[in-house]
Every structure is written in structure tokens, then in C-alpha cells.
Amino acid sequence: MKIVVCVKQVPGTTDVSIDPETKRLVREGVEIMMNPFDTYALEEGLLLKEKHGGEVIALSMGPKRAELTLREALACGADRAILLNDRALGGSDTFATSYALSKAVKKIGEVNLVLCGKQAIDGDTAQVGPGIAAHLKWPQATYVSRLIDSKESILTVERMHEAGNDVCEVELPAVLTVLKDINIPRIPTLKGRLASRTAEIPVWDASFIGADPAKIGLDGSPTRVVTTRKPDARDKHTVVLDGSASKSAGELVKILKSRIKL
């Protein structure tokens, strides 16, 4: 089974700022990490490979330093990694990003399964995985919480939605986006970490994957961030309730009642 896992580099902190000009997150000088949901996608890919054999390829689109996240994927056990990096891809929204990633999947060739985390913790859109499936015209199952069965050409998965859970059969090739419930991601071993440090990571540009310049970058993005603002700071303070336990409990109930509609 040839499995592509899309991994994104995201800020490892909530203390981020937004560039007033570009309306995008300032990523320079910020601690970075692999998008936590992608670690579950990667683990699921590795588990499938352990069961069926084949190959796990980590794919990321981003700046040169996104290579660090790909090395993390290699350290965990991915067989190889590809970085999609091109100035022309800068400013891509989720539509253009999923288009570019789908072109990379096609370029890799003979892929059976694309795995993504349900969403990235910086953008929070949950659109890229479904976007890749749409561009590839492949079936998809989103918010997958359990892989019930896997055969060479069909997966049986449980997916979560507002009203409960569905059990779906998905024919391969397909795209899955996964939830945290699906597995427990492994921690890289020292052996894996050392090997990942020297592994070659090919960098593909837009022309190499055959991307239409009109469909990538800012110009190829149908959505625009018009304005951004930080949410209002929450009014946090500590209230100390003195007195006996029963008196304090009564006070606490009063406070809670005044703040929420019970």
C-alpha cells in the first residue's frame, strides 16, 4: 500500500501574532511543531504499512524550514519525505493548497491512500483534506475515529459527525482525515531520529508537479483574508471563598448561578 501522509508545520505556541499587511500568522522566530492531528495521520499510515507492507511518504507544503517537520515524520518511521516549496505557492488558501498537494500526490503516482489530520491547529479550517479528495476526484471519509478493517482495496472506518458515528466502506484510492481517537502516535526512536537527520528530502516546485500557475498562490486563491483581530481577552480572576465547606459551597453556587443560565 502506497500511503501519502500530509503533514503541516504549525506554531508550537498560542502566543502568535498576525502580520497586519498580509493578514497571515508571523511564523518567523516562533517555536514550531508538527500539527498534532497530523501525528495521528502519520501513525495510522505507519500501522497500515506494518499490516500490508508498502511505503509511507510524508508530504508537506511550506517554507524550507518545513523540512524539520518532515524529518520528524521520517524519525517516526516514514520511508521518505517530499517538500513542496515554491515562492509561487506562497499565499495559497485552502483551495490552492489542496490543489497543489493533489498535484504532488499525482506526481508521486500509484498512491492508494492519502491521510491527513482532521485540521491544522493554526488555520482550523479542516478544508485541505477534503480539498485534496475533491481535486483528485477520490472518495473521502473525514473525522475518522477508528479504522475497523483494512483490505488492499477497501477500508472500513468509523467517522464521527454531529449526530453520532457512521461506519463507512471507502474504496481505494481515497483520502481520510483522522481524529485523535484513532490511535496513539509513537515517539521517534533514537535510531530513527539519527537516520532522519541525514535523509535527503527532495524539494519539488510548482512546475515539477505540473501545477497550473493560475490555481496556486494568492492569484489562484478564491478566498481573501480581509481583516483579522485578536479575540478579546477573557476576564480571568481568582475568587477565594473563606469559611466552612458548606458555606463556601453555597457561595460558589450563588456565583455560578449569577454567571450562567442553569
Binding site: I184, T189, L190, K191, R193
Partner: protein, 268 residues
């Protein structure tokens, strides 16, 4: 060596490199050097397990990858409950294969990236979470006779609670205990020595980073407090002559060479 004599000596903390270390090769070299020095001096090298929840490499994989020598009496692996069952078994199997004798079983510090053992992983029903007690039970049952198991004792916890926990730990197979850092003398440690008939190792805080010590002991020690780690170590050796000493955050350049003389003086 019997357990009392083996425990009554210097236990030197050797911190493994963190997973995200930039200069990993350099860190590995430093780890190998420190480990080797500790083992060669016939002290016990104590390798921590993701201390404070920081993602680090495992002692067993470091020993294997760096081809470090193992003297069974001279290596202690810390093992907490933040592992998958598969990783836990891998660590224990590796310890057993290498003849590592001492395991310190602790509940440990978690982090979002670290998986937590679930009771069902250890075949336990009707329990909410796995603590060092369940971990001890598991090791004792699955690896009978392989290891000498130790546990942590926290003299800064409410006494009754900590003593009850200690009883449960001993019933589950604990054969020695290591305290949290002690500054000079501690009443709860003395009571514990009287109450429980197991060898004890008292922890000496060898760093001047008092904010970290405050975190360990659970009360605020002002940064401007005069604290001499070596003087404290000497006092601990004097106050607890029958105990081993665990040296946390030891300075390998300045403090390590002092240990030789102190050992011969104190018969450790």
C-alpha cells in the same frame, strides 16, 4: 552485592538528550561520557524517563545505540507510566536482555505528546488510571526475578497519604525507595526510615537552580537563599549514614571529581 550495600552508595542522575536537541550528536557524546564515568567509578548511573514531561530518548535505546557497557549493579532505569504498552514491554525486555538490575517505577510527569498507559493495557479492569503501584505489579508478574524495583517517596506530601501509598508500593513489590530532594534533614524521611524496612536513597539537589528545587519540594525556596549543594550533600551523608544518595543535576566538571574523596570518607 546485597541490596543494602548496593543501595548505600552514590546514585548519579544521567539525563538523556531531549528529542528536540539541536546539537544531538554532541549531546549523545556527552551522555555517553557521563554514563561511562559514573559506571567506571562504580556508582549507579540513573537514567531518567522523560523527566518533567520533556520528551527525551530512553535509557535502554541510548545504551544500545551508543554501545555503552552495562554492569548490572551500576545502572538504574527510571520507568514511568507514560508509555504505550508496546514501548513499556520493549524497555523492560531490553533491560532484561542487558541484565540491568535496578528499575525505579514512578507514575511520572506527562505531556500532551506522551501516551499514558491505560489500566486495560496491563489487564486491569475497573481502575481509572495506572500509577506506579500497577506498574510495579505488572513488572513483578511479567518479569519475576529479573529486577530489583524501587519507588519514589515524597516527604512533602501529606504524611498519612504518602505513607499509605508507600505501603501499597511495598506490597506491590518495591524493594527500595528514593526520596524527593532533601535539604539537610527531613522529619518525614526519618519517620519513613523507622516505619518501613527497605533501603532508602535520599536525594541531594546538586544544582543552584532553586526554582527547580522549589518545584520538586512543592514549597517556595527564594532564589536568593544561600544554598551550597556540596555542603548539603555532606550533611545528608552525615545525617543518613545508612542511606544511599541520589545526586540530581550533578555538575560533572566541578562536583563529580569530589565524589571519590567523599565516598571513601563515608564508606559508600
Amino acid at each position: 552485592m546485597n541490596i543494602e550495600n548496593s543501595i548505600k552508595r552514590f546514585h548519579v542522575e544521567v539525563l538523556p538528550p531531549k528529542q528536540n536537541a539541536e546539537n544531538l550528536e554532541e549531546r549523545l557524546e556527552k551522555f555517553a561520557d557521563r554514563y561511562t564515568r559514573v559506571v567506571e567509578e562504580d556508582y549507579c548511573a540513573c537514567i531518567t524517563d522523560n523527566a518533567m514531561g520533556h520528551l527525551s530518548f530512553q535509557g535502554t535505546e541510548l545504551i544500545e545505540e551508543l554501545e555503552l557497557p552495562v554492569k548490572p549493579e551500576n545502572v538504574m532505569i527510571h520507568l514511568n507510566t507514560f508509555h504505550t504498552k508496546k514501548d513499556l514491554d520493549n524497555i523492560l525486555n531490553s533491560c532484561a536482555e542487558r541484565g540491568i538490575k535496578y528499575i525505579l517505577a514512578v507514575t511520572g510527569d506527562g505531556s500532551p505528546r506522551l501516551p499514558k498507559l491505560r489500566p486495560l493495557d496491563l489487564g486491569i479492569n475497573g481502575l481509572e488510571s495506572v500509577t506506579s503501584v500497577e506498574l510495579l505489579n505488572y513488572i513483578k508478574n511479567e518479569y519475576p526475578g529479573y529486577f530489583t524495583l524501587g519507588v519514589a517517596f515524597n516527604p512533602y506530601e501529606p504524611e498519612q497519604h504518602e505513607f499509605n501509598k508507600m505501603r501499597r508500593k511495598i506490597n506491590a513489590g518495591a524493594e527500595f525507595a528514593i526520596t524527593q530532594p532533601v535539604v539537610e534533614q527531613n522529619e518525614a524521611v526519618e519517620k519513613m526510615l523507622k516505619e518501613f524496612d527497605i533501603p532508602v536513597v535520599v536525594e541531594a539537589w546538586m544544582s543552584r537552580k532553586l526554582h527547580l528545587l522549589s518545584e520538586c519540594v512543592g514549597y517556595e525556596i527564594p532564589e536568593n537563599t544561600e544554598y551550597d549543594p556540596v555542603a548539603n550533600l555532606e550533611k545528608l551523608m552525615k545525617n543518613y549514614p545508612d542511606c544511599g544518595v541520589y545526586l540530581a543535576l550533578l555538575n560533572y566538571k566541578r562536583q563529580f571529581p569530589l565524589l571519590k574523596e567523599m565516598r571513601s570518607y563515608a564508606g559508600r
